[in-house]
């Protein structure tokens, strides 16, 4: 579904990504982990072109998104993204947050969009919050709404950029539970996370990034019990 070839990203002289090649298959759940500054968020953000790669190619299905001729707006409609700090639209109600893009971008009718929106709110357990404004919600609730908002576009892939890092500890679980159940539906997911337990339990593959390079790419059982690189061993020692 997503293929990445020799991806480089520089900010001026700073090299953030140094030639990453990998792919994500349909239905796969991939956890991207690594120390801070390793480039994992930048890597994820390249996948929907929120960051423009300096060099390298990325395919979404059979479309090369790094090709100038590709309509990136069209591609983004199929790639949901969830941010660390939610970025809900504060001036719109919860339901309007969910229906805005389906109506304005996909051209759904208000009734259709609201039907989908209400179903999704039920799925994330927030049906009673449909007419609230985001500022009235807790962090965990906001993030569940943000997940529902991304799902409302009925994307083929979901990208998560540290979705629980800004949450109070007691709210992490409710968000991870929603993501878990999403994984069980067969959604293709790429998740930048520090939740090792979650990565171990839910991911099909773990990508370990360090210093802008893909150091390990292995199934979680293998990665967490028997990491190959010394860098990953060090990292896991600190985490556990």
């Amino acid at each position: 579904m997503i293929k990445i070839e020799k991806l480089y990203k520089n900010y001026g002289k700073l090299e953030v990504l140094k030639g990453i090649t990998t792919s994500i298959k349909t239905g796969e759940v991939v956890a991207i982990i690594g120390p801070s500054g390793s480039g994992k968020s930048t890597f994820l953000r390249c996948m929907n072109y929120l960051e423009k790669p300096t060099d390298g190619k990325i395919w979404f299905g059979d479309q090369e998104i790094t090709d100038k001729k590709t309509n990136i707006m069209k591609v983004r409609q199929n790639v949901g993204m969830v941010f660390q700090h939610f970025h809900l639209f504060p001036h719109k109600t919860v339901l309007e947050n969910l229906t805005y893009a389906p109506i304005k971008v996909k051209g759904l009718s208000k009734a259709e969009a609201e039907k989908i929106g209400l179903e999704l709110l039920e799925r994330v357990g927030l049906s009673d919050k449909a007419s609230e404004f985001p500022n009235r919600l807790s962090g965990g609730q906001k993030q569940r709404v943000a997940i529902a908002r991304a799902l409302a576009m009925q994307p083929e892939v979901m990208l998560f950029d540290e979705p629980t890092s800004a949450l109070d500890p007691e709210m992490v679980k409710e968000v991870l539970d929603v993501m878990k159940s999403l994984a069980h539906t067969g959604m293709t997911m790429a998740i930048v996370t520090h939740e090792m337990g979650f990565a171990k339990e839910v991911a099909d593959r773990v990508l370990f990034l360090d210093n802008g390079m893909l150091v390990e790419d292995s199934p979680p059982q293998e990665f967490f019990t028997n990491p190959k690189s010394s860098r990953a061993q060090e990292f896991l020692q600190k985490m556990l």
Partner: protein, 219 residues
């Protein structure tokens, strides 16, 4: 102090008629200035450099010269600019809207820049095109934050409109001045004019508070 308002009572309707003239100028210039301001502010944050330069030059000219000069240039210069003499009312609306557009564009630009960058990213990630993103997501949030500053601009526009007197528009100011001339007594009619402007500004303040309250319902 010897004040005699009684003798001016017959002239009150005449002065009050000027309120309509003032309001017509201020409302139209306010709306047009707001529209110019939005367009100029979008130019200023645009990635197309020429648009930014144009908007900056525009702002520096209209902020850098007196409003009364702009008014007179447009009115007395109209035969040379447009080829015919325009109405004083038209000149007033034109100069006020062009002038406040420059100020409002700076206010809106600040408002747009103050909106969290994550809002733009969230909209982009959903595939929302730039124009819709600006119109539906960024500008409404920017407007909420800049409402007090906008209100200031509309208040000063209301008061500054008194300078249309200089090109002979029959607004509140000019009418009270003329009444003063008629009675050889300027103090009272000018006080009346002051009261009228004050009431207008207070009304505007209440209107602004109401709008702000409505926009803050999402807090």
């Amino acid at each position: 102090m010897n004040l005699d308002f009684a003798q001016f009572i017959p002239s009150l309707p005449y002065i009050l008629k000027g309120v309509l003239v003032t309001l017509k100028i201020v409302l139209l210039a306010g709306v047009l200035g707001f529209i110019f301001g939005i367009i100029l502010s979008l130019f200023k944050i645009s990635s197309i450099k020429v648009l930014g330069w144009f908007a900056d030059l525009y702002t520096s000219i209209f902020r850098g010269t007196p409003l009364v000069l702009q008014l007179m240039l447009i009115y007395f210069g109209s035969p040379q600019i447009f080829g015919y003499q325009i109405e004083p009312y038209t000149a007033a609306v034109l100069s006020f809207s062009l002038n406040s557009g420059a100020y409002i564009s700076e206010i809106i630009r600040a408002g747009i820049l103050a909106v969290d960058k994550g809002q733009q990213e969230a909209a982009m990630a959903l595939g929302v095109p730039y124009r819709k993103m600006m119109w539906d997501i960024i500008l409404p949030q920017a407007l909420k934050n800049i409402l007090p500053a906008l209100l200031n601009e509309f208040i000063s526009l209301t008061k500054e409109s008194a300078i249309v007197t200089t090109i002979g528009v029959m607004d509140v100011m000019r009418r009270s001045y003329q009444v003063g001339a008629e009675y050889y007594s300027y103090f009272e009619p000018l006080l009346i004019a002051g009261l009228i402007y004050y009431v207008l500004v207070i009304a505007l303040t209440f209107l602004g508070k109401a709008v702000e309250g409505r926009m803050r319902r999402s807090d």
